[in-house]
Symmetry: C2
Subunit: 590 residues, 2 copies
């Protein structure tokens, strides 16, 4: 087992800060530094902007916020002893604001690194806030050179940061990150880390932020690679707490360079640690051993489920709610939303409301009750029938002659919305909406009706995936917690006699791939059709997506789980007359 | 009067393109080029991104959109004869996208300029889309050097663009712009133009885009300065059509340089024009004369009124609506909204709906009718009383014992929302909401109630300014078109007995300056209080603004008229625990 001098122990603090809660976050950081010190860590890392939460958005425009961030950082600094802490914070230096990492040791800031590569795409707006850092930071601990980097710095090939890691002879790169989740992204992230390690020949220690923030979920996930890019340790995603990794200090020191041609060199006179015996594992190439093994990864649907749970839980918790309420129709969307809520918040904190109308079938009405019983959630029943009838009477004069149309369908949805919001206002419950991405994409939903609510759990989940999650949920439960009849029933809004979703939309197994191609891949109608879809169907889908942008702008937030969610990810004007096919493509283009 | 060779005639096409309408915009551009040619213009300028509209946002992520933009540009190119046209378009060149200006002459693209300075602050996200141009473009017409620049290029001091204007010996700078309106901005814009002209010693010809696009209004406004920065011609803002300016070609040529040390030099073999006699004016220093005089500017409230009208008109028109419907309560907010709508769309296209409840006073009920009569708009009356009563009965069991609270107030607002949306869905009318910025800032409004609608005309207008606009409107009308009793009545939501806004909010003349300091100036509570406000009042206002971010996210769009509107301008997280004063400020900060 290693002696004090032969091991470099790194603790990764998996942390879920709340945006803006500078005092709370600083307190949590200080506690974990103390814990890491007790565990004999030489270094403890915290995620990108852990001090203020990520993304703080325009809070960064407030001078007071930046001042208070500095105060919070000083509170952390004052408590550090022994262990070196790497803490992400917004650094106002002169007139420039940087996305920064402080290297803190023994009650002082030994150095500050400024992020160089600033993402300004997708959900990111970092160039709105931050100046680009113009140097690197390498710290030296007992002769071991460690480069400090932030998130995107790893994602740009042959960047100044990458060159600095090589030139400064770093044997290890620490990266603190705030990389939002989407399904399947972990493979990409692993590959980026692995390639960076290989290109630089340095081991890599990666610590991603955890938690839900409005529409984003950060899945966390500590990863450590050897200098050949092999994953040698990882900490489970969607979870908090310290992950400890031990490196062979002698080998790292021998691989460290001695020049300092680039940027800042911060020599930390770290005394070494009263080291705990490493807990095993066999981490080749520069890492002697580590107590964190490589954790098994979540399955495809399981990670989506975890993301939805964490996103909902954090939105509820961080905004000071305890209970949620939602309409349970007997359909699969509200069923899976209720199931996720019960898992995320506890069944005692979920209230289901059945609001039947003349068009509600006996089957769906009954299924909703069975669902509530299976999940163990409270179930309230309120009829909208009399209210709907009265509305139609009161509006008869204004509506004039002619059969009721879409206004009557929407009115029923809006009465449901009113009832749920009434309960919300009376009892302080957060209303969950239950629309899925397929519906919301096509505008197959009612503004101020089923769209009324505070959080929209499955808004980024295509209908076909809703079914997969339901199957997963039942499989995990070991029985049909979501009744099979709910899963099997053809989707219907039940707002007019014998209505089926397929009256208005293509069947979901056809619709979803078209939507994915249009929304997530930005393909033109003609290109999508070339994948084997009827061009008329594709054009109609595209038309529906385009014309319903205004509805989505008034939709509640919900968890992003795809590469491109509606929202900050996809900023399409409401006023927009663009349609592919407006030109005859046979004309040559110069 | 000038001969062909002694005059350089520039036409400024004040243009209101629709975002995404590539075919329509290209057609309008081609028509104006032909018109400019008929008027003997040497050069005709179009605003920034006139071809696709501004801002196209993530349409720029669609490869098909960029291809179609190129086709649209080619359609324009094919029609140009004689006159040189400067047309803003998105230019995909290799793998990089540029915010570009094409110099088009006699059926070909003679050169393309790429915008250098890309704004990525406020409402702008240009670094999300565009690469930074790395050169300048100077065109030479009959020995006259003209620099082509785009919007922000003028706003950065000592930029590469500015240096290039000087180094290339340009006698005239053409700037095509898409600069959004806020009240009072014209003074800033004039000063920026004037300073640029002075620093470069070149005359300046500025052409800003016109029109409403979702939340933005572009006020247009052609401006021409001499080389000492004096405004020598301007075209009225908020208006379309050509503005012609004649320059002394001999003088401009004599002031033009002959080196080409920077960027591209485009020599256009323009034959000169069969020149119309200039219409007078006396434009010193480089401009011989111009038919456009310096237009008188709008007053402070008048320009806000024009912006609100144009924003509303374009949202309605460009989205294919004809009529609008709104609740008229007898209060000043709905009165001014109705008045603006009647002015913008024609009184025959505005429907007012009175929806009284038990709390509606005789006075407000009556005033709403007088208002409708004065404006000449249709007025419908529908009572919510019976519906409200029935809701409360049906919900009595679920609500349980205890007096009705906020849920009963909100329910009335939501019934009103349902009625207006019912009319919208039945007849295809766009619902206008009537909330002002003071209310929306404080969350003094009901989600899915008075916030339900498609466009929110005065959402960025503080209540105190609403009164000013009402007075302006009546003054202009020459009588109390908005009844004085509406203006004089203490503001009330009339959702419970004897309710007044001041029960919940500070008086507006006190509230609005606090909101302005907090929202628009990003000041901390303590700093605002130092301006002479009670700190407890300021803290309560700040608390209200912060906690109601979630409501604003579900609000309809509306016209930005202040330096910082809620929306793209101010991106505050919903989940946000930041509060100034969380730290004891007596601690020293390093």
């Amino acid at each position: 087992m290693g002696t004090t001098s032969s091991i470099l122990r790194i603790a990764h603090a998996r942390m879920n800060p709340t945006v803006g809660d500078l005092k709370g976050n600083a307190g949590a950081i200080a506690e974990r530094i103390a814990e890491a010190a007790r565990l004999g860590a030489d270094v403890v890392t915290f995620p990108e902007l852990a001090l203020c939460g990520y993304p703080p958005e325009d809070l960064l425009m407030k001078p007071s916020f930046l001042r208070d961030s500095r105060i919070a950082l000083e509170e952390v600094v004052a408590t550090t002893r022994g262990t070196v802490a790497i803490v992400g914070f917004p650094d106002l230096s002169g007139n420039s604001l940087y996305n920064a990492a402080a290297v803190i040791h023994d009650g002082r800031i030994a150095g500050v690194y400024h992020k160089v590569e600033l993402p300004n795409y997708g959900v990111f707006d970092e160039k709105r806030y931050f100046a680009r850092g113009d140097g690197s930071l390498v710290m030296e601990i007992r002769g071991i050179r460690i480069s400090v980097t932030i998130c995107e710095d790893l994602w740009v090939k042959d960047s100044p940061v990458e060159r600095a890691v090589r030139d400064n002879g770093a044997a290890l790169t620490v990266n603190i990150a705030a990389s939002p989740f989407h399904a399947g992204k972990i493979a990409l992230r692993r590959s980026v880390l692995s390639e960076f390690a290989k290109r630089t020949g340095a081991c890599l220690s990666y610590n991603n932020i955890v938690g839900g923030q409005d529409e984003l979920v950060f899945d966390g996930g500590v990863m450590v690679t050897d200098r050949e890019g092999r994953l040698i340790a990882s900490g489970q995603r969607f979870a908090e707490g310290l992950i400890i990794t031990d490196f062979d200090a002698v080998e790292l020191a021998s691989r460290s360079g001695r020049s300092a041609s680039h940027g800042k060199l911060v020599v930390v006179n770290c005394r070494g640690t009263a080291c705990h015996a490493p807990a095993g594992g066999n981490c080749a190439n520069g890492s002697k051993s580590c107590d964190a093994a490589v954790e098994p990864e979540f399955g495809r649907i399981e990670e989506i489920f975890e993301a939805l749970k964490l996103g909902l839980r954090d939105y509820v918790r961080k905004n000071g709610f305890k209970k949620v309420v939602l309409g349970i129709s007997g359909g699969v969307d509200s069923a899976i939303t209720a199931a996720i809520a019960a898992d995320a918040l506890g069944k005692e904190n979920v209230v289901g409301v059945r609001i039947p109308s003349r068009y509600t079938s006996e089957g769906t009405f009954k299924d909703a009750e069975i669902l509530a019983r299976n999940l163990g959630i409270q179930c309230i029943t309120i009829s909208l029938e009399k209210i709907f009838t009265l509305y139609m009477e009161e509006l008869a004069g204004a509506f004039g002659p002619g059969a009721p149309g879409i206004e009557a369908e929407n009115l029923q949805a809006r009465i449901r919305g009113n009832i749920l919001m009434g309960l919300s206002n009376r009892f302080g419950w957060l209303v969950l909406t239950t629309g899925n991405k397929s519906e919301i994409a096509c505008g197959y939903c009612t503004l101020y009706g089923d769209m009324a609510g505070g959080y929209s759990v499955i808004k980024d989940v295509f209908k076909t995936v809703v079914y997969e999650i339901s199957d997963f949920y039942n499989m995990r439960a070991g029985y049909d917690a979501i009744p099979q009849s709910i899963i099997d029933r053809p989707p219907t809004a039940e707002l007019r006699p014998n209505q089926k979703d397929e009256d208005s939309l293509p069947p979901y197994p056809l619709l979803d791939p078209i939507l994915r191609a249009y929304v997530e891949e930005d393909m033109a109608a003609e290109e999508i059709a070339a994948r084997g879809f009827d061009i008329a169907v594709v054009r109609e889908v595209v038309r529906m997506v385009d014309r319903n942008e205004y509805k989505r702008r008034q939709a509640p937030p919900g968890v992003k789980i795809t590469p491109k969610a509606f929202g900050k990810d996809r900023r399409i004007p409401m006023t927009n007359r663009y349609a592919t096919g407006m030109f005859d493509k046979s004309r040559p283009v110069s």
